[in-house]
């Protein structure tokens, strides 16, 4: 076990997450707790977006997909499904250090980090390959939106902290892999990436960085239809723990006004339904865009009011005189 001398380390013997007795002894117990999709195939979950959560940053935003109230939650400690919670702060644009080579446009750096408590298995503090990979995907999605030529010789940091992520499958399915749902395809990452795109877009707009359009993220997936065995349907904004078998998933970063896609990430066994899937993901992206627009409009109105209030206050507040 590697030890990190700058942090407090776990006991050297290693610890294991608690195992619930009923999941081992009663075979049907986990399945009875599984949440079911109550939404229509093209109905999205509600999202909550707020800007300005980090006052010292030039722009910041917080996104949450509140978990649906569940009746089974009260009868077991096994959490029904997690809710996505992502915070993003934008630092910059600020001048590059003197040692950096000349850059004619804005240098974008994106970092995605999961909090240690973001997922079922505890995560470390050092970024792993999954987080780096997500960071590159996010950078691709954002690079096509920012008008970088307006900031030569500067850099901007987009820092995303995933406080809680979507899970990849229902409990235990990653281990058993009985029906192919938990075959190591991390379906939850698609939702996380879509959330990261949406929240960074809000934070970049909050920072006042010029963009060609608002980018937003959306996910669609092909799942086995529970009602008709063997049939495949397309669902928007899938919650992985609700589906026994996900065949393919796709996340896009979509510019609605220009009808352009800056990022596509597809997984799974697609078949011939590629266009249908991408189209579904763009529909989901349009859904989150409508929330984004409303929130940004509100925050701009709030800022304008604040400025007007600030002007009035300044006349009453005595100016501090500089002495010495």
């Amino acid at each position: 076990m590697n030890s990190d001398r700058r942090r407090i380390n776990a006991p050297a013997g290693g610890t294991s997450a608690p195992v619930f007795a009923r999941t081992l002894k009663e075979p049907g117990h986990l399945q009875s707790l599984r949440p079911l999709r109550a939404r229509a195939p093209d109905e999205l979950r509600n999202i909550f977006v707020q800007t300005g959560v980090v006052p010292s940053a030039s722009g910041s935003a917080y996104l949450e997909v509140p978990s649906a109230p569940s009746s089974v939650a009260a009868s077991s400690l096994i959490p029904p499904s997690s809710s996505l919670k992502i915070s993003c702060s934008v630092q910059g644009p600020k001048p590059l250090p003197r040692s950096a080579p000349f850059s004619p446009s804005l240098l974008l750096t994106t970092t995605i980090k999961f909090a240690p408590f973001a997922s079922r298995t505890r995560r470390g503090y050092i970024r792993d390959s999954v987080e780096r990979d997500l960071g590159v995907h996010l950078e691709t999605a954002l690079r096509g939106v920012i008008i970088g030529e307006r900031w030569p010789k500067s850099g901007v940091e987009v820092i995303v902290t995933v406080i809680e992520g979507d899970e990849d499958a229902w409990w235990g399915e990653g281990i058993t892999g009985a029906n192919g749902a938990g075959n190591g395809s991390r379906w939850g990452l698609l939702n996380v990436l879509a959330g990261c795109i949406t929240v960074s877009s809000a934070a970049i707009a909050d920072a006042g960085i010029d963009c060609v359009d608002l980018v937003s993220g959306g996910v669609a997936a092909m799942v086995r239809n529970p009602r008709d065995k063997g049939g495949v349907i397309r669902v928007l904004d899938p919650c992985p723990s609700e589906h026994e078998e996900i065949l393919a998933g796709c996340v896009v970063g979509y510019l609605a006004a220009r009808d352009e896609v800056t990022e596509v990430w597809m997984k799974g066994d697609l078949g011939s339904s590629l266009e249908e899937l991408v189209e579904g993901a763009t529909h989901a992206a349009v859904g989150s865009l409508s929330v984004l627009k409303e929130v940004l409009l509100e925050s701009v109105e709030g800022k304008l009011k604040g400025q007007a209030g600030g002007l009035q206050r300044r006349t009453t507040q005595q100016d501090v005189e500089m002495v010495g």
Partner: protein, 350 residues
């Protein structure tokens, strides 16, 4: 513009507030604090008086994958803390404690907490590099500030003995072979508590808010009932919510941090130097002040209820605060304790 008119009529130089604060933070704060017309009504740059703390806001239980969690907002500082229990099996411990102090009776209740430290059952960690301030950019190792903070939090957790080792032990009583035999209780495993603190936004006084978040998250923590299953020879947990037990915390120590602002001598001996002790400094004030004092007090869990106890005093950076000033600071900390206790009261009682 009133300020423009005064600037032309008097020779004094007038700046907009943000520029004044940026180019000369010390005199900016001093100009705020020394209000010659009404000395009692002097305010800091953030609009608070010198003795005023920011009101804390706490929300618990928001995180799905934690056994206890809290979000604490103190002004512009916001912290998320999650407590997660994992199981450390006794056979994985290289050097197990020799005695089993858990005899089940209350006599030993106050003793035998050495396991918390020696087995490292508490694993607090803290992350500042989440873009919480412009200088805290991810990709770098924890700064010395972050390392100091987490060391202080860990030592406070251990020295206040807030957690009981018996809450963390998973004890197994084997069925007696003969009816007369006294069952021999064995500690089969321990709960290890991972306490992870993420700063979403940082505006000064990281220690107080982090500690408050840890305290609230621990009060919110409910560990599932864990037992040794003889059949499978492993530790299993019950997922029935009513069997989960909260941690019984000893007392409720609350930290209050103060920053000492040295006023400049104006050169004339009549005025001399003047110092202000600012409660709950924000990031701007922390940048200006050298000396800082942290007082941890607790008014419950001591010998008598309502009797205040000083659990820790940390002081560094200067010599302004002496014995008399410290007395005043403890009094201010006790007032702060009352407020924080009121906010914490709702946590964990459900």
């Amino acid at each position: 513009m009133a300020s423009a008119n005064t600037a032309t009529s008097t020779p004094a130089l007038s700046f907009p507030r943000p520029i004044f604060a940026a180019i000369s933070p010390h005199s900016f704060l001093q100009a705020h604090l020394s209000n010659p017309t009404a000395p009692n009504k002097a305010f800091r740059a953030n609009g608070r008086s010198a003795h005023e703390f920011r009101t804390p806001g706490i929300k618990t239980g928001a995180l799905t994958h934690c056994h206890g969690s809290a979000v604490v907002r103190v002004g512009n500082t916001s912290v998320v803390c999650g407590v997660r229990g994992e199981i450390l099996r006794a056979e994985d411990i290289a050097d197990p404690p020799s005695s089993t102090p858990d005899t089940g009776n209350e006599v030993h209740e106050d003793g035998g907490d050495d396991e918390l430290d020696s087995l490292r059952l508490l694993v607090p960690n803290l992350e500042l590099n989440t873009g919480s301030t412009p200088s805290n950019i991810p990709g770098s190792a924890p700064s010395s500030t972050a390392q100091t903070l987490i060391t202080r939090i860990r030592s406070l957790l251990l020295s206040t003995r807030i957690l009981r080792a018996r809450d963390l032990r998973i004890v197994y009583t084997p069925p007696p072979a003969t009816p007369d035999e006294v069952p021999d209780r064995q500690v089969k495993a321990y709960w290890t508590l991972y306490v992870d603190i993420m700063f979403i936004s940082l505006d000064g006084n990281a220690f107080d808010s982090a500690w408050l978040a840890v305290l609230a998250a621990l009060r919110d923590t409910r560990l599932p009932k864990a037992f040794f299953d003889q059949e499978m020879e492993t530790i299993l947990c019950s997922d029935i919510p009513s069997e989960a037990a909260p941690l019984k915390l000893r007392g409720c120590p609350v930290a209050s941090t103060f920053a000492v602002f040295d006023g400049w001598k104006d050169g004339d001996a009549t005025e001399g130097t003047e110092d202000w002790v600012l409660s709950d400094p924000d990031a701007f004030e922390e940048g200006v002040c050298q000396e800082s004092v942290c007082v941890v007090v607790d008014c419950v869990g001591g010998r008598g209820s309502g009797q205040e106890q000083i659990r820790r005093i940390e002081k560094s950076g200067g010599g302004v605060v002496g014995r008399e000033e410290m007395r005043g600071l403890v009094k201010r900390s006790v007032d702060r304790w009352t407020i924080c206790e009121g906010v914490l009261k709702g946590v964990g009682s459900a």
